[in-house]
Symmetry: C2
Subunit: 267 residues, 2 copies
């Protein structure tokens, strides 16, 4: 593989993908979203095309012009954009939204993947270049979970799996074997804040993906910002599904967690 497309959403995830790919000698051609993508991506890639979320056609032209046959999709795109009046979908995107059976995140991502496939671009596992940053089993931090926290994690596992399988969200917040918050479209950090606001200190956060999760996109991921949210609200335990969760800026994340006596554990 000498070059790859990168469909870039928010956070440092696409930047990390670009850096890792270029380290392996692969050229990176990025489609970046004005509403989402970090401007620093520009310096990390070989070529970049900035589009607004509505402008799918422009992305198609860029990928075709540069003869891109394989691509990785990295970083979130807030689904709430589809309710925003400032986003003007072009003909391609309108067609894609009209054909979608519902507007769940994974339905729309799959629609984008199928669309790319039709124009000759195959989407690959988004963690392809970042295998070292996938969570492994066991504690990643100095602090390990207590017996009580482990009991809360065991309580939460089947619930968060079911919630993920219903394609609602991938995170729940528990304490003392009660479900305090379930993530839907508002995002992980907001769910952590809500649950911790009820729990006071010591909420336990558990993140898992659906058993049917398509690893080409929307892989569960955690970055330093989640640890910062946990610090703000005094949450102490973060359990992540091993083998299926990606850490963004892993070293910084673990350093932050260790400094705040937060336990991050792969389950």
């Amino acid at each position: 593989m000498d070059k790859i497309g990168l469909i870039a959403g928010s956070s440092r995830f696409p930047i990390n993908v670009a850096i890792a790919a270029r380290k392996r000698g692969v050229s990176v051609y990025a489609v970046a979203l004005k509403e989402e993508t970090h401007p620093e991506l520009e310096a990390a890639v070989d070529k970049i095309c900035w589009i607004s979320i509505g402008e799918l056609g422009k992305a198609v032209d860029f990928l075709k012009e540069n003869h891109i046959k394989r691509a990785v999709m990295a970083g979130k795109v807030r689904l709430s954009h589809i309710y925003s009046k400032s986003v003007k979908p072009d003909g391609y995107l309108k067609n894609l939204l009209t054909k979608a059976v519902d507007k769940r995140g994974d339905t729309l991502l799959m629609a984008v993947a199928n669309f790319l496939d039709k124009i000759g671009v195959r989407l690959l596992d988004c963690a392809l270049f970042l295998k070292d940053d996938i969570v492994k089993k066991g504690a990643l931090t100095k602090i390990r979970p207590t017996k009580e926290q482990l009991a809360d994690i065991e309580f939460a596992k089947p619930i968060v799996k079911a919630v993920a399988q219903l394609r609602i969200g991938q995170t729940i917040v528990v304490k003392d074997k009660a479900v305090l918050a379930v993530e839907a479209m508002e995002g992980t950090d907001e769910a952590i804040r809500r649950g911790s606001c009820i729990a006071g200190e010591g909420a336990v956060i558990v993140k898992m993906s659906s058993p049917k999760h398509d690893m080409r996109f929307d892989i569960p991921l955690i970055g330093p910002s989640t640890i910062k949210t946990m610090i703000q609200v005094n949450a102490k335990t973060l359990a992540l599904e091993a083998g299926r969760t990606l850490l963004i800026d892993k070293e910084e994340l673990i350093k932050l967690a260790d400094a705040a006596d937060i336990c991050v554990v792969g389950i």
Copy 2:
């Protein structure tokens, strides 16, 4: 039945139970919670015993002294009290909390029911005196759901049933076949606000109970305050499970909804 106990939580629900029971010639002996119960309950019952949430023993004494054999439990008790430092559980309540396998709402309510049973008080269906206020199938308001809203309700039904069966919560907020918010411990109105904040206008709210729901307590209920929340955030559609949802202050609720062009429908 010449007399009944009433374990009273928040809202006007226990007041409506007391009024309806006394209309049928049944005397009402209420255990009221200082942290939850509306002071107006006092005028609507024959005898009242005000306790703090921690003082289960006081409630036992009151029920025994008045020879209460049957009781109804009406109105919410915020589960978050168990995390509050101001609540001091007495020996009875400590014992009950220690024995409970988890701290889900229905686990604790069942534990209270079993506890009452042991002291000779049988808990009855909480809607016993309010059968006319149970939601029936079809629109309760002048406005009926549109084709799009009906499609969103159909989309939501299996999801909210599954969420209820997981004993997370009974309400979800959807729009254009996407799940915007799932209720956990924060309560219905907060979930409606959160979902509507993402959806802008026109969120669809669907409330259903678990198939295994114990109708003695925590029956899904909607009062005028939920309609007021919907008005604030421009939500227009409220779908409620027929036969299993109770309307509090039904006439006022429907009047409010009609005045705001809100559709309330039994499904």
